[in-house]
C-alpha cells in the first residue's frame, strides 16, 4: 500500500494539481495520510515517469503561482484496476523497535531506559489519539442525506483510533511489567550472577506445593468439629 495508488485513485476522479491532491488525501483518509510537499512531487514525478499520469492541458495561472494539472493515463487506469482487484496480502504483526529494546535489555539498568521510552511512547500515542478523535468530531453530522465521504472518513478515523488504543494498551502493559520487574529485582537469565535472592518466593512456592499436594492426596478437611445436621 503506497501513496502511489492513493494518488492514482484520486486522479481517477478527475485532473488535479499537486496541492489539491495533498489536501484531498488528508481530508478523505485522515491524518495518517498527511504527506509533505516534497513527497507529493516525488511521487507525481515517479508516476509521470512510468506514464501512469500525464500533465493535463491548460496550466492555470493563479495570482502567485502556476498550477500544473495532472490526469491519469490509460495505463494508469489499468494499474489502478489491477491493484484494486489484487488480494490483500497476509496480515503481519508489527515489529516494534521498543519491544526489541525491552526484550534485549539484559538487566535492570537498560530496562530503566526502555521504561522512559515506553512512557514517552504512551504520551505520544495519547496526543495522537486526541488529535484523531478531534478530527473525527469535526466531521459534520449527517443531514437529510448520508454523505459517503463523511461516513467513510469516519470509518478511517475509527480504524486509527482503534489502532492507537491498542498501542496505548500495549504501552501500559509493558510499563506495568517493566515496573514490576524493576521492583521485584527479577532474575535475569542472561546475567550470570543472580541479582536477587528469591527466598521469599521460594518459600511461598514450597508452601503452595505442599498445601496443594495435601489437597490432592486426601482432600483432608481442616480439623472440624462437624455438627450434625
Amino acid at each position: 500500500m503506497s501513496a502511489k495508488h492513493a494518488l492514482l485513485g484520486l486522479l481517477r476522479q478527475g485532473p488535479a494539481y499537486p496541492y489539491q491532491l495533498m489536501d484531498r488525501l488528508e481530508a478523505l483518509l485522515g491524518p495518517a495520510w498527511s504527506v509533505d510537499e516534497g513527497q507529493i512531487y516525488k511521487t507525481i514525478k515517479q508516476l509521470a515517469d512510468s506514464d501512469l499520469i500525464e500533465p493535463a492541458g491548460g496550466a492555470r495561472e493563479d495570482r502567485t503561482e502556476r498550477r500544473h494539472f495532472y490526469a491519469i493515463t490509460d495505463s494508469g487506469g489499468e494499474e489502478w484496476d489491477r491493484w484494486y482487484g489484487a488480494t490483500q496480502p497476509v496480515v503481519r504483526l508489527p515489529r516494534r523497535p521498543l519491544l526489541l529494546k525491552i526484550t534485549l535489555a539484559g538487566g535492570p539498568e537498560r530496562l530503566k531506559v526502555a521504561l522512559t521510552q515506553v512512557n514517552d511512547y504512551e504520551l505520544e500515542c495519547t496526543k495522537l489519539l486526541q488529535e484523531v478523535m478531534h478530527a473525527r468530531d469535526e466531521i459534520p453530522r449527517e443531514g437529510l442525506h448520508v454523505r459517503a465521504d463523511h461516513l467513510l472518513l469516519r470509518v478511517n478515523l475509527g480504524a486509527d483510533i482503534n489502532h492507537l488504543e491498542g498501542e496505548l494498551k500495549w504501552a501500559r502493559d509493558a510499563r506495568d511489567v517493566i515496573s514490576r520487574l524493576l521492583s521485584q529485582k527479577a532474575i535475569w537469565p542472561s546475567i550470570r550472577e543472580r541479582s536477587a535472592d528469591p527466598d521469599e518466593d521460594h518459600n511461598r512456592q514450597g508452601a503452595r506445593k505442599e498445601l496443594f499436594d495435601q489437597m490432592a492426596a486426601s482432600h483432608l478437611r481442616p480439623q472440624v468439629d462437624e455438627k450434625t445436621d
Binding site: 506495568d176 520487574l181 532474575i187 537469565p189 506445593k209 498445601l211 482432600h219 478437611r221 481442616p222 472440624v224
Partner: protein
Amino acid sequence: MILRLEQICKSYERRAGRKVALDSVSLELNRGQIMGIFGPSGSGKTTLLRVAAGLEAPDSGAVLYKGERMDEMSVIQHRRYRRREVGCVWAGEAWLPGMSVCDHVELPLLIDGCENRSARRVARKFLFVCEAEECADMDPEELSDGERQRVAIARALVTEPRLLLVDGAVSGLSVVEQEEIMALLASLASDAKVAVLVADTGASEILRADPVFYMRDGKLIGADPVDQTGKLYTLPAPTSHRSAADA
C-alpha cells in the same frame, strides 16, 4: 469425572420476552483439569457457572457431580456439595462491612462448623499461598483489584473443594496480575488436582486453560471458536503465554 453437564437448558422470563441463557450445553470436567470458557457479556457464562454451583436448577438437562445427579441429591448432600465440594469466585464479590479480609476468608469454615482458631490458621495459610497474606487484616475495600481477586480465590479454597468455579477471574486486571492469577489457578489444577472452570470475556485472559471453549447466545462452541462474523479461528496454544515471573 468430577462434573458433567448434560444438555442443560435455562431461560429467564423478561419483560421484553424470554431470554435463553443456556441452550443445550454439555461439558465434562475432570480432576486436575482447568477448562476455560470465554464469550461476550450476556452469553450465558455466569448462568452456566451458577447452574454448576447448584445455585440454580436448569429447566432441563442434568448436572452430575461425581456421577450423582444434583437434582436427586438429598438436602444434606446438596448442602455438603455447596459448602465443601465446590468453591466459587464471582465477579463483583460481595464484601460484608466491618469484617476484615481474614474474617471473610475464614467465614466458609466457620459456617461449616470449624473451630475459630483453626479456621483462622487455615485462612492465613491459604492467604499466604495466594500471595495475599499482607492483606489479612485490611478492610476488603482497601484492596486493589488484583489483591481482591487473590483474596476471593483464597476464600473459595479454604474448604479445600474438589471443584473451583471462577467467573470473571482476570478481566480488568493488569497483565502481570492476570498472569499471576492464571498461574495460581493452573497450579491448583496441576498440583492440588482441583477441577477448575474459569469463565471470562476474553480469550487472551484464560490462555492457560485447556481446553478453551467459546460461548455465544447460550451455546458452547467447540475448541475452534467462531468470531462475530462466523469465521473459524484457532486459539494460540496455552503454553505460548508464559508468565513474566517465570522469565
